[in-house]
């Protein structure tokens, strides 16, 4: 069934193949989701199971983002950050679209969105940036009582079950998604844009490790938030062995200091804090280390 005039039809014919993403688009967005979703939230769900595959796509650039996010999560662990990434299912379902976006840290350093923009993107609007300020408030999920306005608008227009069908919560748990899982290797191969093959493999391997390292650290931070400081210390000891020379050593040391002080091993914590602060005076977590160990 097609009764469009030739003139109109020609426009659609041209456009039909014009919006295909490139492999670079695919990679860029994936990196962004990885940084914002899995790592920031420190999740341990099924999502994480695929993170190794995701990690294979992460480039060295992501390493910086992950590191910043890990540092940011530490601030949260210290009890000062308002942003508790929504590990709770309810929070996510209540605010399906309006996701919190950590954009700036206390020191004003921008938490880059992992999507490195195309040149054209610089002039384009970023709704999140305009819709929310860069204050800590913007780091909190929006209140569940203010659902996406578009959802409301749409619901008002729908006369049938459309609105209900669009609400993911009504989906009946009938069957699982039957989607072939793509092996990580194939995924790597699909991005020929990355430098030389050997270099790409090496960068990918590093990124995979860093992803694992960041996830492991997220577990520590969760333990800290939940007051399981002894457990956090045990995890940190094991991670220091596993990721010796890794990219998040400083963040682990900061977490260890907080855990020591939280566990009541204050003298030990303060000693470690003093060496840490001497070596990393400008660290974003310096102030939190001081306050968690009662240092001036």
């Amino acid at each position: 069934m097609n009764d469009m005039k030739e003139d109109s039809q020609a426009l659609f014919d041209i456009a039909r193949d014009a919006h295909e993403p490139t492999s670079r688009d695919r990679e860029r967005v994936l990196r962004g989701v990885l940084a914002r979703g899995a790592i920031a939230a420190g999740v341990t769900s099924a999502t994480v199971g695929s993170a190794a595959a995701k990690g294979a796509l992460v480039t060295a650039r992501t390493a910086a983002t992950l590191k910043i996010l890990a540092g940011f999560a530490l601030l949260g662990a210290a009890g000062t950050g308002a942003y508790r990434a929504s590990t709770s299912h309810q929070a996510a379902s209540a605010v399906p679209v309006a996701m919190p976006r950590p954009r700036k840290q206390d020191d004003g350093r921008e938490l880059v969105r992992a999507s490195e923009r195309q040149p054209a993107a610089d002039s384009a609007p970023t709704p999140a940036a305009s819709a929310s300020s860069n204050t800590p408030e913007s780091l909190k999920p929006r209140a569940p009582s203010s659902p996406s306005a578009s959802a409301v608008e749409r619901a008002a227009h729908e006369t049938t079950a459309t609105a209900a069908a669009r609400d993911e919560s009504v989906l009946a748990p009938t069957q699982a998604v039957a989607i072939p899982a793509a092996p990580a290797l194939a995924a790597t191969q699909s991005f020929p844009t990355s430098a030389a093959p050997a270099a790409a493999v090496s960068a990918s391997a590093k990124a995979v490790t860093l992803t694992r390292e960041a996830r492991a650290l997220a577990e520590v931070q969760r333990a800290l938030r939940e007051g399981r400081s002894a457990e956090a210390l045990a995890m940190l000891a094991s991670q220091n062995r596993e990721f010796a020379g890794g990219g998040l050593g400083q963040e682990r040391e900061a977490a260890r200091i907080m855990a020591l002080c939280a566990a009541g091993r204050v003298a030990e914590g303060r000693a470690a804090a003093e060496s840490f602060l001497a070596a990393n005076a400008g660290s974003p977590v310096a102030a939190h280390i001081r306050s968690s160990c009662g240092l001036p």
Binding site: D7, E20, A46, V97, M99, R117, A121, A128, E153, A161
Partner: protein, 191 residues
């Protein structure tokens, strides 16, 4: 079962993968669809990557709620529509709606330089004309004309009645023809 254009139906999968949809598998399958639809629902070119990221952050967090390929697509499409709506609202507020110019539209794949320019202009025009449609009609028109879905498939995707979709499609086509006619008339006045 509905699948986005140019997507192969899933082949036999190991039982475990069937039980545990990984984010990566969902991403790989739906990324092209999400990407195209964000463009086609009016997100400006420079924001498509951010919008796609927003969509998949939600998908990532709601992974446990994906049940079955048909529902998965509806679920993801629902998120796309909402995210696209959010972006469009901001674009409108900033007076940027329908301003995608020929510089920003994607490469149409035309080899010949002249054809290349023509294609870019056509894409920019299409964006502007689609922007004149209301959202419901626009989405139906785009799904049928560009994603090449049948009306029953669109109805299933939207969770809407088939007749409703037919009606919307007919009106969308009328609206589009009128918008194009207005555009051509303006062109004639100001060549």
């Amino acid at each position: 079962m509905i699948l986005p254009r140019s997507q192969e139906p899933p082949t036999a999968v190991p039982p475990l993968a069937r039980l545990l949809p990984t984010f990566r598998a969902v991403y790989d399958q739906y990324f092209p669809f999400v990407w195209r639809m964000l463009w086609r629902l009016g997100v400006l070119p420079g924001s498509v990557a951010d919008a796609a990221q927003d969509v998949f952050v939600v998908v990532d967090r709601r992974l446990g709620d994906l049940h079955g390929p048909e529902l998965a697509q509806s679920f993801i499409y629902g998120i796309v529509v909402r995210v696209a709506g959010d972006y469009r609202r901001v674009q409108r507020r900033k007076g940027l709606a329908g301003t995608a110019d020929t510089e920003q539209v994607p490469d149409s794949g035309a080899t010949d330089a002249h054809q290349h320019v023509e294609h870019k202009e056509a894409l920019a025009l299409l964006d502007r004309l689609l922007d004149e449609l209301n959202e419901e009609r626009r989405e139906v028109l785009v799904l049928v004309q560009l994603e090449e879905m049948s009306v029953p498939q669109v109805a299933e995707l939207l969770g809407a009645n088939v007749n409703t979709v037919y009606t919307r499609l007919r009106r969308a086509r009328e609206d589009f023809e009128q918008a194009l006619a207005r555009h051509r008339a303006r062109e004639r006045r100001q060549p």
